[in-house]
C-alpha cells in the first residue's frame, strides 16, 4: 500500500484514464514527483517551467490543503490520500501590444 493520488477529471487522460494512482513517497513533493515520473504528460499541467506547482492546482492531504501544512514537504504515509483539486480562473485580456491593442492568444488584436 502506498499513497493514493486522486486525479482530477481534466487530467485523467494523461494518467491512463485512471481516477486515482498509487505512488510511493514520504512527502507530497516526492509523491507528485513519482506521479509525474510515471505519467509524464501530467507535469506540464501541474508545474510551471521553473518547477513550481501552478497557482490553480490545489493539493490536499486527507482533505487538508498543503498550503496550511508544510506545502510540498508535507509528510505522507501509506494509506494517505492526496487530492488534486482545480481552481478555475480566467478573464479578458489586459495585455496590450506596442500599439495599445489588447492581445489574445492567437495574436489577434482588438
Amino acid at each position: 500500500m502506498g499513497v493514493k493520488v486522486i486525479i482530477p477529471t481534466p487530467l485523467r487522460a494523461y494518467a491512463g484514464k485512471q481516477e486515482s494512482v498509487e505512488v510511493q513517497g514520504a512527502t507530497v513533493g516526492e509523491a507528485l514527483t513519482a506521479l509525474t515520473a510515471k505519467f509524464g504528460g501530467l507535469k506540464k499541467h501541474l508545474y510551471t517551467d521553473d518547477g513550481r506547482l501552478r497557482s490553480f492546482v490545489n493539493v490536499y492531504v486527507n482533505d487538508e490543503d498543503i498550503r496550511f501544512l508544510q506545502k510540498d514537504k508535507t509528510g505522507v504515509r501509506d494509506g494517505d490520500t492526496i487530492s488534486i483539486i482545480p481552481s478555475i480562473a480566467g478573464g479578458a485580456s489586459e495585455r496590450f501590444s506596442r500599439l495599445g491593442h489588447r492581445e489574445y492568444f492567437d495574436g489577434i488584436e482588438d
Binding site: 497557482s55 482545480p86 481552481s87 480566467g90 478573464g91 479578458a92 489588447r102
Partner: protein, 147 residues
Amino acid sequence: MNTMRLKLSEKLAEKMRAHGVETYPYECCGALLGRDGEGGESPREVSELLPLPNRRDDSRRTRFELMPDDVRLAEKEARGKSVELLGWYHSHPDAPARPSEYDREHAWPWYSYVIISVQKGEPGETTSWRLQDDRTGYDAEAIEISG
C-alpha cells in the same frame, strides 16, 4: 481535422447570455454539466448550467475565479444528476469571445471553456475552446445550438 463539437439548447445558450448581461460590467462564470462524446465522434452535450459567483475580490471586469469548493459543488451536482462536469463558461465584458493569454495560463485541459462576449451590456458572440495538450494554445470547439 478538428472535430470537437459542443451541443447545447437555445434555452441554455440564452441562460448563459442572460447571466453575462446580469453581471455586466463584471465577468460572470459557471459550470457546464452534461455528457462527453465518445472518442470525439459525437459532440459533447451540455444538459444544464450551474451559475456560480465570481470569487474575485478585485478586477471582476476582466477576471473571474472559482475556488476548489465551487469545483467540488459542480462535481457533486453532476454526480447527483448522473452527468459529468464538462467545463466552464464565463463572459468577456466589452471584449471579444476569444481566450486571452490569462485564460490560457490558467486553463485546464479536457474542459470545454465557453466564452460569451457582452458588449455594452448586450450579449454577442459565444464561442467554445479546449486547451491543447502542450498548453501553447486552444482548439476551437464548434458550438451546435439545438431546439
